[in-house]
Each structure stands twice: as structure tokens, then as C-alpha cells.
Amino acid sequence: MKRSGLNKAEREALRKESERALRELIRKRLALPVEKRLNCLRKKVGLRATCL
């Protein structure tokens, strides 16, 4: 398996930053009214592709 080139501390910092960004995104969505949280339907394009 290819090594990432990052040490353990760097990987942990990246993981924490990803989780912080995810939590922030979810908090923003939770602050919206329910019907405004629905930009989630992917439209089929051609045989295999989809887009939001």
C-alpha cells in the first residue's frame, strides 16, 4: 500500500479538521427550516452519471 507521507500527528490533525468542518456544515443545516435542507436529489445524466 502507498504511504501517505504524513506522520501520525499530521494525520490526526487532518482528521480533526475534517470532523470540525463536517460538524460546522451540519450545524448550518440544522439551523435551516426543514424544507431548506433538501438540495440533495441527484439527477441522472446519461446512463451512469448523476449531478446535484
Binding site: 460538524r23 451540519i26 440544522l30 433538501l38 436529489l41 441527484r42 448523476t50
Partner: protein, 166 residues
């Protein structure tokens, strides 16, 4: 693409046909605030003779066809509309969540375009994804767990009267 108009039409069609069905899957998770996307709309329903008649009515209202893809475990009925490739799945069995009655007792009633829509509890959605175990389900599990955690935190801070996210 905004799913609100689609859900409003579905809620109206279900109400007119008096078909009791619970929204589940990623669309339901998005209503709970999860940042996920989906190509279809999933419902849990009871497969009875009466409900299959009602499902035909719903398909008629949506101008969609009913297909039976070969997924024996889930008892799947797929409503497909050719004009815009809308896909709505009705399942009579979903692993990991227990009976329809149990899921219904925990579901929330949400207003959608002036009609009511039953939406499965986020914990039930997580349980169904966990039981399904497909790679696309595993990929969203962490997002759904964090969403559940944030929802609980928001509820706690509302009851305590402290600002959310603190």
C-alpha cells in the same frame, strides 16, 4: 437539485391515496440535517392487497410505472417516471429496523408543501444503513452518526437555553 417540490408532490399523492408510508434512506437523513445526497426517494410501507392498490393510485398520480426489480429481501416496488427519471422505491422489509409499526411509532410527521409526510427517526435510518452494509451505506454512516450527535447537542442546548454549537 432541490427535492422539496418532489417531496411535496409525493406527500400529496400519498395523502390522496391514503397510503401510509414512511420516508427513510438518504432523503430522510437530509431532512434530519445530514449533508448527503441521493438519486431516489425511499419509503417503508406495509405490503397488503389494499396498499398495493393504493400504490397503483400513487403511480397514476405521478404518471410513473411500477417496476419489480429482483431484490427478494426488501420486497421492493419501484415507481419510475420516464420524463424526468424520478425514482421512488417502496420497500416492505428493511433490515435492522424491526417492524413497520415500530418505525412508525418513532417517526416524525413533517409538513411538506401543505401535506404531511412521515419521516423515519435518524437512529432507524442509521440502523438500516448499518444492516444493509453496502459500501455506499458504509460511506455515509459516519456522517449520519455525527448528524445524530449534533442533533442531540442542539436539543440539549435548547433545553438548557445555551447557544448551539458551544
Amino acid at each position: 437539485m432541490d427535492a422539496q417540490p418532489v417531496l411535496a408532490v409525493l406527500a400529496r399523492a400519498l395523502e390522496e391515496a391514503r397510503l401510509e408510508a414512511i420516508l427513510i434512506g438518504n432523503m430522510a437523513a437530509a431532512l434530519h440535517g445530514a449533508p448527503v445526497s441521493t438519486v431516489d426517494v425511499d419509503f417503508f410501507f406495509r405490503k397488503t392487497r389494499g396498499n398495493l392498490k393504493k400504490l397503483k393510485e400513487v403511480a397514476g398520480t405521478l404518471r410513473a410505472s411500477i417496476l419489480r426489480p429482483y431484490y427478494p429481501a426488501s420486497g421492493l416496488f419501484r415507481l419510475q417516471r420516464d420524463e424526468d427519471a424520478l425514482q421512488v422505491d417502496f420497500m416492505s422489509a428493511i433490515d435492522g429496523v424491526g417492524s413497520f409499526e415500530r418505525v412508525r411509532s418513532r417517526a416524525k410527521r413533517l409538513a411538506m408543501g401543505g401535506h404531511e409526510l412521515l419521516v423515519a427517526d435518524l437512529e432507524d435510518i442509521i440502523a438500516s444503513k448499518k444492516a444493509a452494509g453496502r459500501s455506499k451505506d458504509k460511506a455515509v454512516l459516519d456522517i449520519l452518526r455525527v448528524t445524530l450527535d449534533e442533533t442531540k447537542r442542539a436539543q440539549q442546548s435548547r433545553t438548557r437555553g445555551t447557544p448551539e454549537g458551544k
